[in-house]
Amino acid sequence: MNIDIEQIEGLMRALKAHDFHEIEIRQGDERITLRRGAGVAPIGVPAMAFPMATGEREHPTGLGESLPSTASPAVDPDLVTVTSPLVGTFYRAPSPQARSFVEVGSHVRKGTVLCIIEAFKLMNEIECEVDGLVTEILTENGKPVEFGQGLVRIRRAG
């Protein structure tokens, strides 16, 4: 049998890096299947089910549950989520009368202002760090955001 260990190790690293659990490759009558343990079953103690899950928890600010910073990894590596670098209030435009900085479908470049986070009466402009296309605005104008919360999703330009 003719096995290229290096190639296999390369596959292993890729699976791990992207947090994947299984891969199967067929070429003609050749087939390689790789599985990482975690996919089999969650081993160990699950996160505790706290009584707060009964719905008593208040989330009027839209915080907490929707926090994308701890969300499952995006499957698509070209989708970039711009997260809030500070706690404050999210604004899509520089003033109530003005037009939004970006809309879904806007083409953006590195440095384009995407939105403003107001904190402490200061307007902090959030700039884009990649070139691409805005695919989603993740929070509403005037809503509070916490550190690390997703603001805008951008598809990186190929």
Partner: protein
Amino acid sequence: MFKKVLVANRGEIALRVIRACKELGLRTVAVHSTVDAEALHVRLADQSVCIGPPEPKLSYLNIPAIIAAAEISGADALHPGYGFLSENAEFAEVCRRCGITFIGPSPEAMRAWGDKVSARSNAAAFGLPMLPGSGVLDGADHARREAERVGFPVILKASGGGGGRGMKIVRALGDIENAFYAAQSEAMAGFRNPDVYLERFIEHPRHVEFQVVADQHGNAVCLGERDCSLQRRHQKVLEEAPSPSITPALRDRLAELVTVAVRETGYTSLGTLEFLLDEGGEAYFMEMNTRVQVEHPVTEMVTGLDLVAEQILIAGGARLRVQAHRVAPRGHSIECRINAEDPVTFAPSPGRVTEYLPPGGLGVRVDSGIYAGWTVPPHYDSLLAKVIVHATDRAGAIARMRRALDEFVIEGIKTNIPLHRRILDHPKFQRGEVSTRFIEGMQR
């Protein structure tokens, strides 16, 4: 009175404040760093806001982020806990400017009593006993005269800094001259300032502190003392109330003095005045802490008061609910700080808690922010849990603590429970013969 309290802290003290708020019918907002997203204080608060990455200066010490969190969550009051921003008078001022009630003393009172020099001059003005010492020494001859006046042993200290540099302990008159020159040159080398002063040196000091509580209507009450002599590298390890080191006469005298000093300086909220006791039982004022202490529960156990609820109500303008000028302790209470650390090397031991079962039953209280499955992050202090017991007398409290520690299950990380067992089993501790050098001596 405010309606929603932001708790600007983490761990067990954040939980402590959240519990008090819930019992008072107040809403709570937890703030947390990204690494604390699953922490117990976050889970038990009504609401939570992530304020930054794990590094304390970017999260729990990040004033703009915390104020913004209060603003977006609509919190109209803020409890700072202990550590972090709790003794930062500027932070208290920012809160005031933003219309957020800071649950603690006024910024002015924090400055007056939080600064060591100012606190000492306050204390001296109200007749609190001060450690005998000199001003800056002119020369070896001046040092000799002052040392004789203060009485041996003395310690020479650099005016410009601390940390042991420039410190020299002198036990006999013949050694003063050499020590003075050595201290002076070390001070010069270390702090670019040759100024040196001296103080009476206490070989085996005991640490006794008095808890006061004062409202905004001129009422101040002393809730007795705590003994915090059991320390390791200036970190308290085990505390108790009442102190086995103090005589009833000294207790009465100091309680009276601190109450007057606090009331007359217009201090409000909780405050703790720390004293050192020398081997002869004389007390000397050291400093004041202008916030709730880690070890406040032992005072709660022997007075029956909820200090944090009291602190919150006072910040809301309420009058003190305690009527008496002084509250007499009932029974005896001990607190053991359970830290995530190797019990022998004292190295921190963060990591995943795989099993957790706190002790229960009569007279046992546990204040803790951990649970099975949670990972203790390495970014903050190592305090996992406080076990507090109450019994009718000190021997009963020691037996109860021994029993409680025996049934405490924390797996996955190392803790200092074995150290506490050794302390509790030590005949000298059981006789109440403690000092800040006890643990160091025990390990030899």
